[in-house]
Symmetry: D2
Subunit: 288 residues, 4 copies
């Protein structure tokens, strides 16, 4: 934790009823917090309540470690809320998984090194040795785990062990060209972010740029999502697109797509680091 107290952030969802915002803001006021940002919306069809609230901890009468328990007993428990609690002063620890393509890796490392993000990157994992020099240029330990059908389970176990040793809280797949087993993904629910190089749900799986060219789409996209057990089916966090013109052929799609991938992946990571993502039934609400 920093010296600065920073802010606390609550992400809440539950069935809607009268008085929910009041209860949350009453709790914050009772302990002398000052709200700097509150977003609340009710889903009209399912009558589900969603809320993100952020308040300054300077002057707050509960210590960070006490807030969760107090909130649960005073508010979340009685009102049946699901909640996540985060603190802006915490520094996330993030691992990056890569294969051979360096553009997303470069982009993520540049943001971390420059202080654009409040994050520590204790390690990079790869199933290929190619990008070790990039890791070295940024001074980050690089771990090479070749994956074959016969060693996949064992290698993943070693990777997970490494992540635990390094107290990693977020895994970013930066064009990592291996499908993670469901055992692996279950270990980091809604904490593994992948970038897929298409506008999902169009063109899931392999070679989306070739498929997009074949179909003659006029716009290509990229999608970042939390990884779930089903390939390219996890909750989408962020998407963006780029227009094509009649001269664009597959290499142009790949070139334009590279920039999209960098942007869309890094925005998703930023939203995650800012605790702006609420996952509900395989969808996300991103409080951008």
């Amino acid at each position: 934790m920093n010296k600065e107290p920073g802010t606390a952030i609550l992400l809440i969802h539950c069935p809607d009823r009268r008085g929910l915002v009041l209860a949350v803001t009453g709790f914050i006021q009772k302990h002398n917090g000052n709200i700097i940002r509150l977003d609340e919306v009710v889903d009209a069809e399912s009558r589900t309540f969603f809320m993100r609230v952020e308040w300054e901890l300077d002057g707050f009468t509960l210590a960070p470690g006490e807030i969760g328990k107090a909130f649960d007993s005073d508010v979340a428990g009685p009102l049946g809320m699901n909640r996540e609690l985060h603190f802006s002063a915490e520094t996330a620890r993030m691992a990056i998984f890569v294969s051979r393509l360096p553009h997303c890796l470069h982009d993520l490392l540049g943001r971390a090194q420059s202080g654009e993000w409040k994050v520590e990157i204790p390690l990079i994992v790869s199933n290929h040795p190619d990008l070790e020099p990039v890791a070295a240029g940024f001074g980050i330990p690089f771990h090479h785990f070749p994956i074959r059908p016969d060693n996949k389970t064992a290698q993943e176990q070693k990777e997970l062990e490494l992540l635990r040793q390094n107290r990693v809280g977020l895994v970013v797949l930066a064009r990592y060209m291996q499908i993670l087993s469901s055992a692996f993904t279950a270990a980091y629910p809604n904490r593994i972010i992948n970038i897929h190089h298409s506008f999902l749900p169009a063109f899931p799986g392999a070679k989306p740029y070739h498929s997009a060219y074949q179909r003659g789409v006029k716009i290509i996209g990229a999608s970042s999502h939390y990884v779930s057990a089903e390939l390219d089916q996890g909750p989408i966090i962020e998407q963006d697109v780029e227009k094509l013109n009649y001269k664009d052929q597959v290499p142009d799609l790949i070139r334009k797509g590279r920039d999209l991938e960098k942007l869309v992946l890094s925005r998703a990571v930023w939203f995650h680091l800012q605790h702006r993502i609420l996952v509900y039934r395989n969808r996300t609400l991103v409080f951008a």
Copy 2:
């Protein structure tokens, strides 16, 4: 008013202090309202509090006509809040001012006629007779007020009188090619919406597409704003842009711009009708 009670909407700004959200949500809860949407943010530099809250009136224990007074005495007054109160059940009455270009007029009338917007358009005003047939096709009264330097003041007074008779609450300038006097604009503060065919503050005034072509910009824009005494200087509500390519010449800018103008003007009108715009110091916060 409809049979359906609909929702009430408060737009609030004031210097920030602890307890503001609590006070507003406490008021709503006290009278049995159910909040369906709440957006709050504090400007970090000026420490100004901004909020929009919308709640269902079904079951609310105050009649719509009583809410404002009660809120002022219980909350806004004691806490020094500036507030606007609106009701979704009210139907806005909107006048459209045009000159010779029909595209925005067509677009607005189409949206009104189809029921896309909850709005009544009692009249169209123009300084040219050209678009009377369009008005006639939609069955809307058309008033022709030619404007010359020597009759401008008198004609504007007649226009204002007409607006009053028709209980008009919102004036939309749909490519109206006359500068309104400050006497006119003062009669409808933050209730006259104009569309300017550039990405403001670039290219204010006349012939923006020609200027944009001359300067060699790669993107053109359109901007909708509330009209203030200074030309093209009022608070911006909405902007959008379109990319150009090397073949695009002035007629192409005009063609692409037409579609932008329609979109950007109609979005601004929609935000206004939904009471999603808060004006503060010549800026807007649009709770989109």
Copy 3:
């Protein structure tokens, strides 16, 4: 035809070889034409040649009616080119098919009436009577053909007969909620333009906005395409997208989508009217 000679436009594709551009431009020069725009590209993988060239007919030594034959015998025939020849002075005759949703119809009629497009609309066809007043407001004949499984073939035959009588060259499906039979679509190959309210190939078929909301996409789209025998599988002409935010629910997707549909459909019609679309193997090249 107008008094002004205007321009001639050739759209060409064939296997690539040396000298193709030279042959075409030599033909134009031989007859004293002045090229104002030429776009040529070779597909690197299939080595296919694509070209659009437009030249001024003022001073051209061949009459419009002679150009095609001369070009075929001098150039296209010997070099194995596929070509289309068009003239900017011709006014297209366009039929609009609608069902109950008026927004695209309003948009198309507004563009035609205002002279934004060089087009005549001799008739509107619908399987529902609802939009007859819109047609009446613009003074366009409206033909109601209710479609049931038992009368579909017969009704389509009557529609086709009506199109022929009116010398219709382009059919625009403006949210027409009936699937055309393959007999119908075969009568107008690459001359029926549909708007589908999703970013194809995502969410083909019915209720795409609901599906998009369910999947949690962050961007919605619309796609215009030539209609082929397979539903929503024809060559895509134009696509565009709009970002969503966490508050957007199905009615918001429908609202934002309406504006996309209008834009994307009208751009496709405009490209068609400008003879900027080359169809090749279920893809289009749009020389925008």
Copy 4:
């Protein structure tokens, strides 16, 4: 030069007249070239002819070094054309100038290192020492030239000398926070690319994000341009924009702007490296 012959590219402009495309394509055909891409357009108002043509050198009967002279005597001279001739096989040599902000530098170096661009970067110049470690991480020599009013002329002379020694053909100002003298810019006409962090011509000069926030724009932009003697007035190469929402404050503009700056600068460099930019009267035509 590579072993592969690659392509030759001509960029041409001149007053329009009949037969220009024919003359150029005739020259290419005469020497057995195969055109893979040709873009031509005539400015309707000034009757100016613009063209870019690219052909394969494999089998071309002139050596690269002979093409320019032959073209000038056979075509460009007689027809009064201005032309530039480039070869895809040449590797550009690019210097990067930076100050303290690393994001554009990281982005450019990542693209160069990964082979995304065909470019060599022999040196980085800076008026501050801060980014030397970034240069070191990528193994590029870093030259620190502190600039004060009293030493500016002398330092710029040294910089120019260094550029000459390193045979630099393109200078990229990657958020370089010093205004270059007109003596410097005159040494690299249309070969110095700058990124300005606003949507020019809006907000030229210092602190554009603060100005944009003050004015309440709904979209921010970035603009890359060739540097001319007048600050932020050179020919624009590329622009892009990003939407804001009501929560975005100056730090958010800076954050969103950073990503825009990276994209817009790197696209401009790419267009330059691909010889797709034609400069004419302080405007560019970008054959994207």
